[in-house]
């Protein structure tokens, strides 16, 4: 089966994984059956160091809610991965598209928080 071409941008301290200081952008190939979680595994990104993760402009994770890893990657997909320490105030994301898993989690833990780090969440 043909691989998918994926573009990845990593922001903040995790950029070190690809040799960057605060920013790293790369192209890579993934199996056509791969999901977002597979990409994170392949890049060996420590999940406890991520905050916001986007897949094709859809918000998948926020700080403290790292839960959307079963979204399928498409050929030409772009993934944006932010390290911890980033901010995105609620008023500036109110209404943005989110993955189904993140939408459900936010309904459970509170939509309006600025960060979820330290929040006691159930697995």
């Amino acid at each position: 089966m043909q691989n998918h071409k994926i573009n990845v941008a990593i922001y903040g301290k995790l950029a070190r994984i690809s040799g960057g200081r605060h920013l790293a952008i790369m192209d890579l190939e993934m199996p056509s059956s791969a999901h977002l979680g597979d990409l994170l595994d392949q890049l060996e990104i420590p999940i406890d160091e991520t905050s916001y993760i986007f897949l094709d402009a859809v918000l998948c994770d926020v700080p403290g809610l790292t839960i959307t890893h079963d979204e399928p990657l498409k050929d030409g997909s772009h993934v944006g991965i932010f390290s911890q320490g980033y901010m995105w105030p609620y008023q500036y994301r109110d209404g943005m598209p989110m993955s189904p898993a993140l939408t459900a989690a936010m309904k459970k833990y509170g939509v309006m928080r600025h960060t979820y780090t330290g929040l006691k969440t159930e697995d």
Binding site: G12, Y52, G95, M96, P97, T103, V111, H114
Partner: protein
Amino acid sequence: MTKQILRINMSDLSAKYTPVPKKWARWAGRGLTSAIIVDEVDPTCHPLGPNNKLVIAPGWVSGSPAAPSSGRTSFGGKSPLTGGIKEANSGGLSSQKIAKLGLAAIILEGMPKDGKWYSIFINKEGVQFEDASDLMGKGMYEIDTLMWEKYPNKPAVIGIGPVGEMKLSNAGISVNDPENEPGRYAGRGGLGAVMGARGVKVMVVDDKGGPGVEIANKELFTEGRKKLTAAIGEHDLTKKDGGLWNFGTNVLMNIINEAGGLPTRNFSAGQFEGAAKISGEAVVENIEARGGVGVKHHACHPGCIIQCSSIYPHEDGTPFVSVIEYETSWALGANCGIDDIEYIAHATRECNDIGLDTIEAGNTIAIAMDAGYIEFGDKEGALKTFDEIRNGTPLGRVLGQGVEATAKAFGVYRVPTVKGQSMPAYEPRAIKGIGVTYATTAMGADHTSGYTIAPEIAGVGGKVDPLTDTDKASLSLTFQAATAFIDSSGYCLFIAFPILDIAEGWAGMAESIAGVTGLDITGDDVIDIGKEVLKMERLFNEAAGFTSADDRLPEFMRNEELPPHNVKWTMADEDLDQVYAWVHE
């Protein structure tokens, strides 16, 4: 000591101190500027005429010892850009120095009968007026330097550049920072033109020997400020090594771009391919590589512990500009299709010098680009517009009036404004919640008018679903009210982050205000007090002729899909009208 109102009348060059009247005694900052404007300014007056006033007010806690990040100064008047009431606030040195002189507010009114320009010096001895002829045409970098050479004690310098002298609607008011740089602006709404219309080029405030700020309940104040300080130091966004600390406000560039909400090329797309090059990450990489005077964590006023500002150096390490905010980098960069951070630094310095609001300036250039006068991405062409404005050419005077005037002059349909003020760096078709605030706030499209605070504290926890359109409207009111309260406090709006997520921080904010003022304010009062401010402002605008038809986003946003999400603005007008329906109930 009772706080005073300093009334400066430029018609007869007089200055009068009076105790704060009872009707204004509760207010400070934005609450006070709006209360005075409502009481003393005819809503139908011409903003540049003799009946408008400029009101300058520090917040409740400004100037009090060790209140963290509490150096915001509110400037108020009738806006020449919107035709409605305006409050724009700034960091810098002015808030604490005005407060320490025992002043609750400075009211600048009248117009010089001789048509001359003046500088004003204020200290504990009183007010001095001087002929400012030798300062005319000068930019704010030179003005700030000259004022510190002339006056001792490193005073606050509040001034206008050539744009304010020309009384153009995109004129901001500059306040110097601790390094005496003019990067702190009460930028939005053209209040620099209101100051210029009073015939005042610059006001210098020296607080040495002033009475200081009296603390009504030291124990309560200390307890409150400690709680707030701890919350700021603990929260992910505001602590050291947090988002604002690491990259400043420009930490948002890549996030908003990844989300598809970054207005690009005059609001024709939601992603910019060059965003990373003009982001906070790029700025910090350059600061680290260049060294010299570059600073990653910089306080725009004494006592700020968030330190989201920075000092950006030239390649040789010499001073270039402070500060490249997110909205600045977006407006002058992404919205003009320009991905060169050196150009943005240069353009920001131009704005700081001649006295332009960077958001309106960038959006105005984008309009000229949309019209084909300049190509998107043409940074040399963009820089020439600043020369046109500085020199007061006919084209420059149009551009200096902002987006709506420029769009009319160039015949552009895609005009991203509400109530005459152009939108900041968050696309409302993608980020619907901010669109509600843009549409309904009395200030015109403004990203600082609706900061989130805790839903439980605001009384909306469990009552609304933020994921629906209808409830976005009711949430916006709560956010706007909380913001009006914080804008009255003197605290930086960024304390909204820790007080949303940390209950002790919320309580600490209210306790510190109650401790300084002696007012019976608790966290439970925040929304109601904020709504009082909003009501004053709303009724002023209604008296000025505004109706619900002004609470709308521009037509093109209902007609044009925004990539990459390919969404239009779909919020129902009826939902928008609910935001302020309570004012007449």
